[in-house]
Each structure stands twice: as structure tokens, then as C-alpha cells.
């Protein structure tokens, strides 16, 4: 960076500081009016209005896929909004790329750091702002400026350290310094605590507090309620691409936010009789799962599912449900514990093979049908045998028995009313609801002993939801043991015979499905009925709450 621009950024900082001293906290730093963005048929953001006040920390909370990251990407110029305007500091701005965003005073700290691992801190900070082809002058200027920034915001970090040698907490600090070096007045942090240890997260919050005191505006994206409560001034809740509420943090509480996040979807009334419970078909004993970083994702979970009952696992996404499903279905390995399927254990610590488990009567409707449940470029009929392609009824020696596969697919299309009714159509061309029906038909028509289902109606239209729920109940009445994971609380409450709530990798409570939404919401937020040391939960949240998807 040249001397001139260094001076300029310093002026800007001083100007901002003066403003905040004047007490100009009511004016808007960012104002979004009617921002909409779709990708193909998916509305990632729908008509979003957002007002972030200068000198505040504004939290944006919502489930995965609620549209938080898309919104911030629009603000930072990665995407262009289809409609709507962006005002920065009271002026309408066109942010066509990240350069424009930086110019407008916006800095972004990404969830996955954008640092060159084998460069030094200083080199990373001047990267893209070298201000000429001779580096020497730029580095000297930068060193000076960095020293000042470090002093001003207590962001100590050795400028000569190589990034890959630094712990993640410090790497994140470099990202923040990078933004400040470019004169950012508004900092956007995308899931900033996801990779941090609790101590590092605490330190980050202190830094953010200091930045706020210096007049910076901070927007923080997260799906962790406690962080919102701990640090923000205002909070906006996003769900399904919309901002459903904005509250002063002081005027709201964890329960309300949890309820807003999960949302009340369409009223779901599923007729069901009382369940006729049989023998235990799936038993999980002290299961613990760690991710590749060694963080505990599933923490000593035990549960039983009997024939003829639906056990629902409720919880905010990212609390270990996905990992639990993956281990039971043999896709990933557990650290310790046992899973017993129909009386015989499966080798959860290494030997489990999804194919063998299928043969033993375990059907799995995966959470992510696009990446797991289906191969989107395949024909419908090919997907309707995925995972069962070794079954003799579909084969003629080494050859696929195309007639049998087609006939089987056509039968399922009719039974499950899959539209359009064409087994030759590419799977990607079916709607979300019909794609899900393809998966359900495949897994349910196998006459399984145990059925595990993740997010049965995610991205599914209302008509199909009803159909899918009915089918699940029918399976239960036919005596299948069903383990259901959903982030839609209403779905769990209307389908399950027993509700388990998962939080930070643990089952924190069991309730009857008739328990009130508020009661379940509290459990989902990690507030257990038994008094538990609050610090422990906090540490757990910070350690484990991160979604791994």
C-alpha cells in the first residue's frame, strides 16, 4: 500500500472514530432494501430488508441453508442481487465485486480463511494491496501501519510468522487485521467461532467488543444462540431465505430465537393410531464419534428403537445428528461404542459396510439426497436401484437387467406418484419433492427391519410432505423400527412416538411428542431440565456446535 492510501485509511478511521464519539449510533451502517436472489429455482434470499446501525454488533442467525451466507456474499460482492438496493453509510452503492466492497469500507472474515498458508503474516496482509511492483516499500509501510493497528485494537500477532505455524485463533486475527488494513469500517464475520477453541472464541469476542468501542460496525453470522446472546446488540433471524424477525438482543431470549429459527412450518396433522411397540430392533450404546480434527461430534449417545415405533431426534442442525446417522448406516466410523442391528452388532469402528447393512435390513434415507441419496445426472430408474445394484433381481450375470429395473422403477413411480412419471428422465430434472420420493420408494419398498431417515421433507413442497409423512406412519404400522432425524420440530412432534433432543453431540432429554414447543425449544438450546453447570454447556457449544456439512 502506498503512503497516500495509508494516510487515507488512517483519515477514514479517525473520521469514523469522531463520528462514534459524537454519538452517531442511530444512523445506519448498512441498509438493505428488498434484496432477492435466486439460483435457478431456489430462492436463496427473498425480499430482505436489513438495517444495521453504526457502531453495533448485529447478529444474523439461522439454520444451515437459511440464506445467511448468500446474503453476506451479496453484500461483499461475490453475488449480485436479482433485485433490491444496498445502502452503505446512507448512500446507495453498487457492489459489483469484492474490490467495490472493500472500497465501500466492508471487510469480510470468511469461515474458511483466505490466507496463503506458506506466506508470512505481513505478506498475507499486503496481498492484493501491495501498491506497486516493488515490495520493499510496501512491506515497510505495512509494518508501520500494522504496528499501529495492533496497538489500537490489541490484536498482537508476529508479522514475520508464517501462517501455517499459527493456531487458528491467530490466523483469524490475521484475517481481521487484513480487513482493517484495507480500511474496513464494517466487518462481516461468517461463523467465526466454528474453528475456534472456547478460549480463542472468548478472546475473539473481546476483540470484537473493542472494535465496536472504536466505532466499527460488526455483522456476525452464526447458528449458535449463545454467541448471539453473549455479544450482539441486535439480532436478525433468517429462515428459508427470509428475515423472519429482528430483535434487540436485550429484549429477546434463547427460547424465542430458537423457535423463530426452527419455525412453524405448515400445519401438519398426521392421523396416527397408538403405536404397537415390539422388540428392540436398533440399539445404540455409548456411541462416540469424532471428526477428522478430533472434535467430539457425537458424545456417548445411547438409544433404542423398537419395532413399530418412530423415535424422533430433534435439535438444531449441527449438533451431531448427521454424524450419528452416518455411523449407523456404515458410512463413517465411530470412535467408540456399539450399534446393534436386529440383535447383532455392526462394526461401527471400522468394519461396517453400507452394502452389508442393507442386506441385513437397514434402509437409510440420507439427509443430503443431492450428494448421497441420488446421483443427479443418472436416469430415474438407475437411482431407484442405487445401493441395491447387487441384488440378483436387477442383474443377469454381470449385466444389468434393464427390463426388470425399468419395470421396478415404473411400479414405484406409480405407487409413490412420482412426477413426471418417466423412469428414463434424468433425476436432476425432478423437483425436490419427487426426488425425495424416489429415495423413499427405493428404501421403503425393500421391506427393511430398521429405517433411518434424515430430514425427510427438506426442500420438499407441501403436497409431497403430506404424502411422505403418511408413508412413514404406514411403515411404522407395518412394524418397522424407525429412527427419524429432523430439524423441523413440528415434523418430529407429529410423527414421532418418542422425542429425543440432541444438543452438542449428546441426547439432552427425552419427551413425549405432546410436550410443548417451548419445552422442546429449551432443550434444543441446550438448557437441560436438570441443573447443569452453565460453563460446561457453553464450552460444549463452542467446541461442538459447529456444523460439519
Amino acid at each position: 500500500m502506498s503512503k497516500k492510501s495509508t494516510v487515507k485509511s488512517r483519515e477514514r478511521i479517525i473520521a469514523a472514530r469522531n463520528k462514534s464519539i459524537v454519538g452517531d449510533t442511530l444512523s445506519s451502517a448498512i441498509k438493505l432494501n428488498g434484496i432477492s436472489k435466486s439460483f435457478g429455482h431456489v430462492h436463496a434470499n427473498k425480499d430482505i430488508d436489513l438495517d444495521v446501525k453504526k457502531g453495533t454488533i448485529h447478529g444474523i442467525i439461522g439454520e444451515n441453508g437459511a440464506g445467511k451466507s448468500t446474503l453476506m456474499s451479496i453484500l461483499y460482492g461475490f453475488y449480485q442481487a436479482d433485485s433490491g438496493t444496498i445502502e452503505i453509510g446512507g448512500e446507495v452503492q453498487k457492489i459489483k465485486d469484492s474490490q467495490a466492497a472493500i472500497k465501500a469500507g466492508i471487510g469480510m472474515v470468511h469461515q474458511h480463511f483466505m490466507l496463503v498458508e506458506n506466506f508470512t503474516v505481513l505478506e498475507n496482509i499486503i496481498l492484493g494491496a501491495e501498491g506497486g511492483s516493488i515490495l520493499n516499500k510496501a512491506t515497510n509501510n505495512a509494518r508501520e501501519e500494522l504496528a499501529r493497528l495492533e496497538k489500537e485494537y490489541a490484536l498482537e500477532v508476529d508479522p514475520n510468522a508464517v501462517i501455517e505455524d499459527l493456531p487458528v485463533g491467530l490466523q483469524q486475527r490475521v484475517e481481521i487485521l487484513k480487513a482493517l488494513y484495507r480500511g474496513a469500517e464494517i466487518l462481516i464475520l461468517d461463523e467465526p467461532t466454528g474453528v475456534l477453541t472456547p478460549a480463542e472464541a472468548d478472546h475473539l469476542f473481546r476483540i470484537l467488543g473493542q472494535l465496536k468501542d472504536q466505532g466499527k460496525t460488526i455483522v456476525m453470522i452464526t447458528h449458535k444462540l449463545r454467541e448471539i446472546m453473549a455479544i450482539t446488540d441486535d439480532v436478525s433471524v433468517m429462515r428459508r431465505g427470509k428475515i423472519v424477525a429482528t430483535r434487540k438482543t436485550a429484549d429477546t431470549n434463547v427460547e424465542e430465537l430458537a423457535e423463530l429459527m426452527v419455525g412453524r412450518s405448515v400445519l401438519l396433522n398426521v392421523e396416527k393410531k397408538k403405536s404397537k411397540v415390539g422388540d428392540v430392533k436398533l440399539s445404540i450404546e455409548n456411541l462416540t464419534v469424532k471428526d477428522s480434527r478430533g472434535v467430539i461430534m457425537v458424545d456417548n449417545v445411547s438409544l433404542k428403537v423398537h419395532a413399530g415405533e418412530i423415535v424422533g431426534i430433534a435439535g438444531v442442525a449441527g449438533n451431531g445428528q448427521s454424524e450419528l446417522l452416518k455411523v449407523i448406516s456404515g458410512i463413517s466410523k465411530a470412535k467408540s461404542g456399539r450399534v446393534i442391528l436386529d440383535g447383532k452388532p455392526i462394526g461401527v469402528m471400522g468394519k461396517a459396510d453400507p452394502r452389508k447393512l442393507r442386506e441385513r435390513g437397514l434402509a437409510h434415507v440420507p439427509e443430503d439426497r443431492h450428494h448421497m441419496g441420488l446421483v443427479l445426472p443418472f436416469e430415474e430408474s438407475e437411482n431407484s436401484i442405487l445401493g441395491y445394484q447387487n441384488n440378483t433381481e436387477y442383474l443377469n450375470g454381470p449385466f444389468l437387467n434393464m427390463d426388470a429395473i425399468r419395470a421396478d422403477a415404473d411400479e414405484k413411480i406409480e405407487q409413490y406418484d412420482i412426477r413426471p412419471p418417466s423412469s428414463k428422465l434424468k433425476t436432476a430434472n425432478f423437483s425436490g419433492g419427487n426426488q425425495q420420493k424416489i429415495v423413499l420408494a427405493r428404501e421403503m419398498e425393500r421391506d427393511p427391519v430398521v429405517l433411518i431417515i434424515g430430514q425427510p421433507t427438506r426442500g420438499v413442497d407441501v403436497g409431497a410432505i403430506e404424502f411422505i409423512h403418511k408413508r412413514i406412519i404406514e411403515m411404522r404400522d407395518a412394524g418397522k423400527a424407525i429412527l427419524l432425524v429432523s430439524v423441523e420440530l413440528d415434523e418430529i412432534r407429529s410423527l414421532a412416538d418418542r422425542v429425543l433432543v440432541m444438543f452438542a453431540g449428546r441426547i439432552v432429554g427425552e419427551r413425549d411428542p405432546s410436550a410443548s414447543e417451548g419445552e422442546l425449544g429449551l432443550l434444543m438450546a441446550g438448557i437441560e431440565d436438570k441443573p447443569v453447570d452453565d460453563d460446561v454447556i457453553e464450552a460444549k457449544t463452542l467446541e461442538n456446535g459447529e456444523t460439519k456439512k
Binding site: H41, K356, V375
Partner: protein
Amino acid sequence: MKFEFPNWVEYGLIPFLNLVTAFLVAGLVVLIVGENPLDAAYFMVRGAFGYGGGIGYTLFYATNFIFTGLSVAVAIHCGLFNIGSEGQAYIGGIGVATACLALDRYIPWYFTFPMAIAGAAIFGAAWALIPALLQAKRGSHIVITTIMFNFIASALMVYLLRDVFKPEKTQNLETRTFETGGQIPKLDWVFELFGTGLQGAPLNYSFVLALVCCFLVWLLIWRTKLGFDIRTMGTSPSAAQYAGINQTKVIVIAMLISGAMAGMMAINPIMGDQARMAEGFPGGAGFVGIAVALMGRNHPIGIILAAILFGALWQGGADLAFDMPNITRDIIVVIQGLVILFAGALDHVYRPFLAKLFENKTDNATSNLAGEDT
């Protein structure tokens, strides 16, 4: 999000546009050299398709490219980019030469032929095995390992030709010439049906073998359980994991088949044309195979068409260099390079533009079909 074109655009228009661009740029090169591009084009097309011998040579070259194109395509269906077809073809030659040298004096060619096929396939596959294992078990990138194996193959073959295969009295790095029992007959009779001869072109029964392999690859990829596993693995490794497909096994098998296809290319020049194995016989066919597979969209039918196109370039180019003395062999190589560049490497040049053009049209069509979420 990747835009999906209607079939006629994906398989027709885009390759066509790439080809036209390649020829326009090649035309410029011809202009710079001081010749008339239209004349040059005429000589080239006439050279490739204008007379029996031309067609014979075009199809002879195409035979090589079909084998290597299939080799690349099978690997791509499994999500693997096999750059090593060249080396696998070269090593495949050991199998062909060994079969011919051992048997040519004792049995007729049609008994040697199956042995040569088996030898070529086994040696080609073996050369693909180590990169495959390294990829499947250790995650070493197949592009890097196969390209390095090309160099190893090249050095190994020079050694083998000099110290093992070469008869004492010759100076060239080549085996002895095979007797008739190690020579595949030419396809003269087919051309005589059309009133022309092959006029010395080396087109032989390997071409038929190549077409049979096309059918077998189609059968494998789209009609067998193994092909299903290969395609699942290549399209969505996470879905393959969900489906309980043994990823290591599928990667290794796909690479073995890919290597076998490449190895069989060696039959055409060795047993079908020169009746001996000479140094450097693959002549870059392995690399052309990449462009052929890309342009042919990894489908056997597309591969046949693309292989014939490249065969025509090779043969037409040779005739062009003969008819227009200003255009040297090197300029021909430039033109061939341009086609490979535009058909292969720059395949994506027109895509963003066409995507915009077709977006609105298909948006309406699919939204009727698909509803709100996909």
C-alpha cells in the same frame, strides 16, 4: 451452478463451433505461410477422403485414436483422468510383439491375433495398475503418476528394444520383421467392393477390433453392474460411499480396463502395419486420445466420429504437406495442435455465451417440469 445444454448443443453445436474456430485459426496460419487457406482445406479433405488410399489411411489412424479415446473415456467415467494412455499403449506393444515373435512361424495370423490381443491388454493394464493402486490406496493423483509412467515406459521400451528385442545385425531399435503368422491382413476386399483399392494404406482388421471394443465399452459402462458402479463413483463419490460401493476396487478395475484399451492400440501399428515393433510406435496417439474422448463426450459413438476426424487430420495433413510445398510437416503439426487445443483444452470457450443464450429458453421448460425446488 453448471448449466446443462440440450443434447444437440452439447453433442453437436459445441464441438462444431470448436472445430470451426480451430480451422479459422489454422486458416490464418496458412495465410501467414503464404498459401490460400481454401485450397489448403480442399487438399486436406481430398487427401483424407478423396480416394481409397486416403480413406484407408484416415481409418488406420482413426483405429489408434479409437483405442486410446476409449481408454481415456473409461477412466473419465470413473472420475479419473488417465493421461498415461500413451505409456500404456507403448508397454502394450510388449504383449503384441512377444505373441508375434513367439508364434508367427508356427500358426496362422488368426490364431496369433487373440494372443496378441490378450498380451496387449494384459501389458497395458499392468502399466496402469501401479498408478491405480497409488490413487486408490494412497491418494496420489492419477494425473501425476500416469504422466510420470509415460516417461518410465519410454525409457523402459528403449532398453527392451535395444537389449532384448533387437536382432544382432540391425542398427534400428526394432524387433525382427514378423512372418505372415504375425501380420494382420489388410481390409483390401472391403474397398474393392466399392471399386477402389486400399492403394497401399495399412487399414487392417484392427479397425474391426476397435469397433468391437466400442460396443464392449458401451455395454460395460451402461449395461453392467460394474459400469453402474464406475459411473456412480465417477459422478458422485459420496453417493458411491452411501451405496456401499468398494471405491478402491472400482478405481483399480476401471484403470485396468483403461490400460487394457490403451494397450490394444499397439496391435494396429505393430501387427497390422509394420509387422515389427519399432521405437516410439504410439506416436502421440495416447495424447490425441484425450482430445478424442473429450470431443466424443466419452461415448463410443462420439469417440468413433472424433477419431475419424483426427485420423483425417493426420492423413489429410500428410497429403497437404505433399501438395503444398510451402506448408511443411511442422505447419501440419501446428494445425493438428490447434484442433486439439480448441476441441479439447478450450472446450469451454463458447459455453458461458451459449449458456446465457439457452438459459431463458430452458428455464421455462424445466420450471414447468420441476416445480419450485431442485
